[in-house]
Symmetry: C2
């Protein structure tokens, strides 16, 4: 078997690639992520067979808040602990995928030669137009490959991005002073999902007001949803200002997650698992529908309906029921 080729549905090959990825082979990891993107169902059992102990950190926020600069600065801070870090950049609006994008960014370029950093862009556009069912699996693959931190950075702040950061253990929302008002962030659903609010570009005017407003709004929004406390951290990512404080906030949130034998972490991962299965169900059912539409049985029913020998809904039900469930 040519090791550079993974045949469709060849779970054996995927297992071997995954084993090498877990053993630290970064090329194998990159290949595994490619398989995950195109055939998540095939990759899933292998990926799930290994546990890990990463803190999954989701980073989101509106354009212009300095998200990507902050991600890069955070990467530098985390690497100061000499633990391996993975960065997954997700752009739900782009069908583009591959490993190059992140490393091409000026800010990220300095990390490309660091063997303790793994960077990857992933398309969040699923095969059927929906949200990428592969994103949560990619996160687990990185965790199982032994990274201590997995950063997920989203490009925009739409519903798709919010759905993605829900797979994180700790959600960091990056805003800037004067970015609209806190009310905008609240409307966008950002405050509801934030565990840590970063007010980046803290050297800009309006800082105190923005911070105060965010604190008030967050308490209001989150109070009823979840009882984990929020930290608001003010940063100037271009100068690494506030980054140690952000590191502390991340560590503190990790402690909260692990309290009471990890009750909150388990709750979050349970929610992520439910969402993951829901994604997978959607993809698998679409695949079944497409298979039905391509089948001779479908063409047969069309003729029967046209000739009024049956009606369209009875035909549809028959196609679903008689379809072998294994296909």
């Amino acid at each position: 078997v040519n090791p550079t080729v993974i045949r469709k549905s060849d779970t054996g090959s995927v297992r071997s690639v995954h084993r090498r990825a877990v053993d630290g082979d970064r090329n194998a990891l990159a290949r595994l992520l490619t398989v995950i993107e195109s055939e998540p169902a095939t990759a899933s059992p292998a990926v799930w067979s290994n546990t890990g102990d990463a803190q999954i950190i989701g980073i989101t926020g509106p354009a212009g808040a300095g998200k990507s600069t902050l991600t890069s600065a955070l990467l530098t801070q985390l690497r100061g602990k000499d633990l391996p870090v993975a960065v997954l950049a997700v752009d739900p609006s782009s069908p583009y995928t591959g490993g190059a994008v992140l490393g091409d960014r000026l800010r990220m370029a300095r990390h490309t030669l660091d063997p303790g950093v793994f960077m990857r862009s992933i398309s969040a556009r699923g095969h059927h137009g929906g949200l990428a069912a592969s994103v949560p699996l990619a996160i687990r693959a990185l965790e199982s490959a032994g990274f201590a931190y997995v950063l997920i950075e989203t490009v925009g702040v739409g519903q798709a991005e919010i759905d993605i950061v829900k797979f994180a253990d700790t959600v960091v929302v990056v805003l800037a002073p004067g970015w609209g008002d806190g009310v905008q962030a609240m409307k966008a659903g950002l405050l509801e999902i934030a565990d840590i609010l970063v007010v980046n570009k803290a050297d800009r005017p309006g800082l105190a007001q923005t911070t105060a407003e965010l604190r008030a709004l967050h308490t209001q929004v989150r109070g009823s949803v979840d009882h984990s406390p929020v930290s608001i951290v003010e940063t100037v990512a271009t100068d690494d200002k506030g980054l140690p404080e952000l590191l502390d906030a991340l560590s503190a949130h990790r402690d909260v997650l692990l309290q009471a034998s990890g009750a909150l972490l388990r709750e979050r991962r349970g929610r992520a698992a439910a969402e993951h299965i829901r994604f997978a169900l959607g993809v698998e059912m679409e695949r079944r529908r497409d298979a039905i539409l391509d089948s001779p049985a479908f063409a047969h029913e069309v003729t029967a309906v046209t000739e009024r020998k049956t009606d369209p809904w009875t035909a549809a039900l028959r196609l679903i029921i008689t379809r072998s469930p294994e296909v």
Copy 2:
């Protein structure tokens, strides 16, 4: 059994309501359309059991072209033949439904007392956010109730509207001189679906140019798709000008459909049947997915995935396969 109540999935009651609708009971017909909107799968066998012989006329076009005035004027013309006419107004962007909307329109008001005219608005927003799977069934219900003409008028010109008029035998696209240019209509996919192009408001400047441009573009677009000829009719619907010519064009298109033992009509209805089954499949599969997500088995799989006893994709496949197909 209280005749005003139709229990869920009571195909017997639906059959009896349908029988009365076919016998000319307009209240029964209105009730049947309500059942179709909420439970198309239940209504479908009864509706499909009766044939009919209507010309299904789809009317679409951009806002401002005078679609609804034209529909009303056409209604008057068609009624001149003393044959019953049904009008179905479809607004894919509105969840609003009911019989009142059409009759409330000033132009349509004069038809409300005519017993040979049946008007109905129908929501095209399906239960699962998709296109209304009930629209094609409503069309067939009106046909089986003995109408000679079924006019389907759409409100906008998005993809949803284009999908709806595809259920028509004859598609009338209404434009106005100076409505952008013909190129706009081409880009919107309107020329591709038009069997008859109406240039309404023909008393406005730019008529000759618009008509010439449309003729050239239509030949270009349609030439490769379908060989049925296009008619371009110039109308001033507010004065009934050009309406007899439109009637002739509709009749001529009907003749084309019936040529060669109705080969083209059969082809169109075959395509409509395929689309109808596709709609029904989508709705039924979504219903199944929702049922799975609500089931105790789903909760069980979530726990198993969270505890890493299984993986999300294996869990999803198991939920689909073990799900009783009848539910």
